[in-house]
Symmetry: C2
Subunit: 233 residues, 2 copies
């Protein structure tokens, strides 16, 4: 029976053995939700980069640049980290270069996996089906917030884990912790997340609409995967 | 109103601002439970050191040496990390030098606090009363297991936090996560901890008696504190 582990923050990624496993990267608010949304709406690929400078560099090479820091679009960019930015037909078929506060850093903390896929509540069911089909050991890697453990990604990990048991078995205390958080939520995501730091941060920025979108289950039936440094379907 | 934060692992300690705060170090299974027990039973002080070599060094200087690695007493030492080792009159008035897998490492990860005290389920009420009296901002620092987040220390953090609200307010997602884990447990510690990695590790070593002891609430009315590198009452 394959196992399912949880890495609660990129800061803890060095403690994981990723070899031959499938990594599911999650940054619910909002990077992976936005990636899934963009690719569903026809974006060709997403190139995650660490710095705003790299983002500018690829923008000059013909990519559409998307840059977010602290929840806001970086000056000089038209696209940020809101899923609603990516529903326009203008972006269909385009390549995006994307830098976000926590999401891209998380990808770069993963080494040696068999496969890296991207999950959020909006594609939860599709991710669960993919993992079931692959039948390999899984690590869910939470992006957190500036290296700290956060609630929404931990809750996603617990929710996904709940869909995978008993065909997969949870391994390690962080997996049990995430699952208990899900069981405590009784499926009411927003109740548990009411006091989360990032929810409050986004709400202050007037992004309640984004939050509601990010907490919707199973909106899209697609699973982004990273191949040769770029993310596509 | 003072705040109460939770650091889920020493690996995440660099993300905390400890200045002017009271740090509560917890390593439920078993280092802090054992320290509290030892001091309650008359041990004069406990000197935490990182390595077995340092432990030997201080043993030669007249300390009673206690060394544990991976749940077992290190060869050449008579004392390990079981609270039952420390209930003997032979140790009353003695100074102990102590090295454990995770506990001492955690202490060394804390910098700049106003005060460092030590908590476990066995002295939960006494710790809560001390914090209430001090009226300062608090960080609960979980020892975890080999830098990974663990269940029992997170559950302790949530239980202590539950005793402190509403006079203290939880700050940051790890604090909310720990509190939700406590609320999920509904006060039944052993149910939540049933599958914890370290419980299983200790059980394999035949230490169920130690586990039961470590999960007993409010057995001792004392709060160890670190002063000039040594821990005493």
């Amino acid at each position: 029976m394959p196992s399912i582990a949880v890495c609660l923050s990129p800061e803890l990624a060095r403690l994981q053995d990723f070899r031959d496993k499938v990594a599911v990267v999650v940054d619910v608010l909002r990077a992976t939700t936005t990636m899934v949304t963009a690719l569903h709406h026809g974006v060709k690929s997403v190139l995650p980069v660490k710095s705003v400078e790299e983002c500018r560099h690829f923008q000059q090479k013909g990519y559409f640049g998307a840059a977010e820091r602290g929840g806001k679009i970086v000056d000089g960019f038209k696209l940020g980290n809101s899923p609603f930015d990516y529903m326009t037909p203008e972006l269909a078929g385009q390549k995006i270069v994307f830098t976000t506060t926590n999401g891209t850093k998380t990808i770069h903390a993963i080494h040696g996996t068999d496969k890296i896929i991207f999950g959020a509540f909006v594609n939860l069911k599709a991710v669960a089906e993919t993992l079931t089909r692959l039948e390999k050991n899984v690590v869910i890697v939470c992006a957190g917030w500036e290296d700290e453990v956060n609630l929404e990604d931990t809750l996603f990990a617990g929710t996904l884990l709940d869909r995978m048991v008993p065909a997969f078995y949870p391994t390690g205390d962080p997996a049990i912790l995430a699952h208990q958080l899900y069981l405590r939520s009784e499926g009411k995501l927003s109740v548990i997340l009411e006091d989360s730091s990032h929810m409050r941060r986004l709400r202050k920025l007037g992004l309640q609409k984004d939050i509601d979108f990010c907490l919707t289950l199973d909106r899209y039936n697609c699973v982004p995967e990273m191949v040769n440094g770029e993310i596509s379907l």
